[in-house]
Symmetry: C2
Subunit: 459 residues, 2 copies
């Protein structure tokens, strides 16, 4: 049991810090506890299970889908103080880490020993690895390297009834029974609380090179992306920013980005220096053949940093447009990216909303971001409808509600649309079997009966 | 319903063909049905569920752990005739396939379009992709490229109650709810019957080179493997064969392999031609520094084929030693490979058994194979004890019961040893929630109460 009163927060001022995440909505918890080891987590969970109190594990709450929101009151379990372990095991090419460790610290510790932990959610400098595991976070490098879940090979987990289990282990190959590791990764804290994580690492790529191509037609940028991928080259990342996004960045910090261009595509290649040299030439040729206005190559760290600056400024830049940001991550099969762009433009016009689009074009994972003002109820109603139509478009095009942000509260109403009644029912059976009292992060992932669209308005 | 009587087998002669797999044990089913589409599968499953008849899906039954064995009688569902679909979608870099398609056909179809489906279980030329998905099959390329489950992004599944669900989809990134795709992959046909599979493909590596290093000391071969991996090189495969294995191959087909060597290590590198040239030099230097007696490099297809011949002859060679083969795939963290070899040698001596060791050294996935004669009950009892001790050694060294063959009937008795009561209980809850009548491939993965070791003898 937590005896250190400093790690049990109940003052209202403190509770307010735990009422929100990176998405939308504000819910005050009744208590916040800050465990520092598995035993404390077990005690809290057992107690909550006994008295049927809802509990909400959270890391730094950079979540964009409402995962950590204490929607039914109860106890927030703040895991950030559980950050004691960060071991890099060179012999086995693995890292063993506590859930409260910041993701960027793992990347750094690995790099120092010559290894690479590829997943790079934009929040990596703030977010915890526990949060990344809960949400199965992605990032630009998903294209070549996969996402968080592709690197998690073992977990220590406190079940919703307070039992400590270990899933997977320290070996890359493990097919012993059901893959509970991958079941828990991305389960958004609804199936248990992760208290230790084993990650596989890979050798650090010898060199990275970046390239920026500017297009006058969206269709050409899309064609370049698919042509590069079918040429046998697998870039580490391929990011796209549409015109509204370029304009927002240029308004935010004038740097000479072409505000009249239809799209900018950023490409990162990594691997053996000689191989990259070949590949960068080939990529540049493809972009030029597909009518890129300009193609810029950056080989030094500094040049690369400058090229990626535009992409990194997107988030701060667009929040200057309007105070409320609804970030989506609807993902479509790569071949449908041009069609999805068209649909997004139609939706922007139909609902007269501020919509900018950027994202991980190589893997079909776009980020349509809607900027609005939550005090404007009429506007928010238009946003609600636009969001619904974005999800419908993604599903119609053979895609999915979420490529990397998770479902949380924000996309739960749309789950049945994608999965069907039976698909959703099979997920729910796992939840009910693991958490019979429904105390672990309730009302996430699964829709509340009767609620079939996102509600952002108060009335 | 299946109306074509030719696809319902009930003659005893036919049933005998379905009584065994690649492991151990012989169980006659009561019927065999051969569906050709999902609707037929649904009808069979619904009927079985209504009348509480056990059903056993199977592909080509090359399984090494007892997965397809009809241990409780009932109906075998032979999926090999459901092989209609094999689509390569170049735009999205995916393949959509029916479960009865032979794995090698997928590799071939992908290669013809310039793509690569990396998983390469040794049985790839015979086994079905449905069987590979059920067992989450591996192979030598697991080291660099991962295993079957790493390529499955979407499934169509008939649940144990006869509902048709779709999991995942056609996008590489998908974090919409629980990862049911990865839950079903490797669930050995206990959670449903897969009726369609979507696989991601990757660009074909531009070149492959192989290298064979011969060592006089097992410890040097182990050190070479870890030194290569920590040098920043990630080979496509790293295979090891111990002395008993080399001798078996040389006895089977004399080709001049050094029967006095302690171990042969085979390494495959792939990627950009120039990068590989560098890497092969570095790998050769490391092996020589670690006292390799000889290092041979093969760059042409023909030379490579010859180098890998020894490895490919292992299975036919060792079955000449004695008629009954028990193949294990206990897997340990890479750093424990030398220690695991020592333990295996101790076990061989202690129980006076014929044990040869080969396997995927780079990822710690060894294949200790025991050769025996099942008619010799006394010998089989020694084998039972040896197998138990092999599993205990793997778990003690931080490893797992199965790296790629699955649990089936052969390893079920040892599950609690690895997972603990609570870990096993959480797996069982998934099974019970999905298959309340326990009709889907019963008595696999989960131990029969009271049975805590493998039984290979009749009395």
């Amino acid at each position: 049991m937590i005896t250190d009163q400093k790690r049990i927060l109940s003052k209202e001022a403190d509770l307010h810090s735990y009422a929100f995440d990176g998405s939308f909505g504000y819910y005050l918890p009744e208590r916040v506890v800050q465990p520092i080891n598995s035993d404390e987590v077990i005690d809290i969970v057992k107690l909550a299970n006994q008295y049927l109190v809802p509990i909400y594990p959270r890391g730094q709450a950079t979540c964009l889908s409402g995962g950590p929101l204490p929607v039914d009151g109860g106890i927030v379990i703040d895991m950030v103080k559980m950050d004691q372990k960060l071991e890099i095991d060179s012999e086995n090419l693995i890292a063993i880490v506590s859930p409260g460790v910041i993701t960027a610290s793992i990347q750094k510790a690995a790099l120092e020993k010559g290894y690479f932990y590829p997943p790079d959610p934009s929040s990596a400098h703030v977010s915890t690895i526990g949060g990344n595991v809960a949400e199965n976070s992605g990032g630009p490098r998903g294209l070549k390297y996969g996402i968080t879940g592709d690197y998690v090979i073992g977990l220590e987990v406190v079940t919703p009834e307070g039992k400590l289990i270990r899933t997977g282990g320290q070996t890359i190959k493990n097919v012993t029974g059901y893959n509970l590791t991958k079941l828990i990764v991305g389960s958004e804290g609804t199936l248990g609380i992760v208290t230790e994580i084993t990650l596989r690492l890979i050798p650090k790529p010898k060199k990275s090179v970046s390239l920026m191509a500017v297009f006058d037609q969206l269709v050409d940028s899309g064609a370049s992306i698919s042509t590069i991928l079918s040429s046998g080259i697998l870039p580490a990342a391929m990011e796209i920013m549409d015109q509204s996004c370029i304009q927002a960045v240029e308004n935010f910090k004038p740097s000479g980005y072409p505000t009249d261009a239809a799209a900018i595509v950023l490409i990162e290649l990594d691997g053996h220096p000689v191989a990259i040299e070949d590949e960068i030439k080939e990529v540049a040729t493809i972009c030029k053949q597909l009518h890129a206005r300009t193609v810029k190559v950056a080989t030094t760290e500094e040049e690369r940093g400058k090229l990626w600056e535009a992409r990194k400024l997107v988030s701060p830049a667009i929040t200057k447009i309007k105070p409320t940001k609804i970030s989506e991550d609807a993902t479509v099969p790569r071949s449908q990216i041009p069609r999805m762009f068209e649909r997004l433009i139609e939706i922007r016009e139909k609902y007269a909303i501020d919509l900018v689009v950027f994202g991980h074009a190589g893997d079909g994972n776009l980020h349509p971001n809607i900027l609005a003002d939550k005090r404007d109820q009429e506007e928010m109603r238009r946003v609600e409808d636009a969001v619904t139509e974005i999800f419908e478009a993604a599903i119609e095009l053979g895609g999915t509600l979420s490529g990397e942000h998770g479902i949380g509260t924000m996309k739960a109403p749309y789950m049945e649309k994608e999965l069907g009644i039976d698909g959703l029912e099979m997920m729910k059976r796992v939840k009910e079997a693991w958490d019979p009292n429904n105390i672990m992060n309730p009302k996430k992932i699964f829709p509340t009966p009767g609620v079939s669209k996102l509600v952002l308005t108060d009335d």
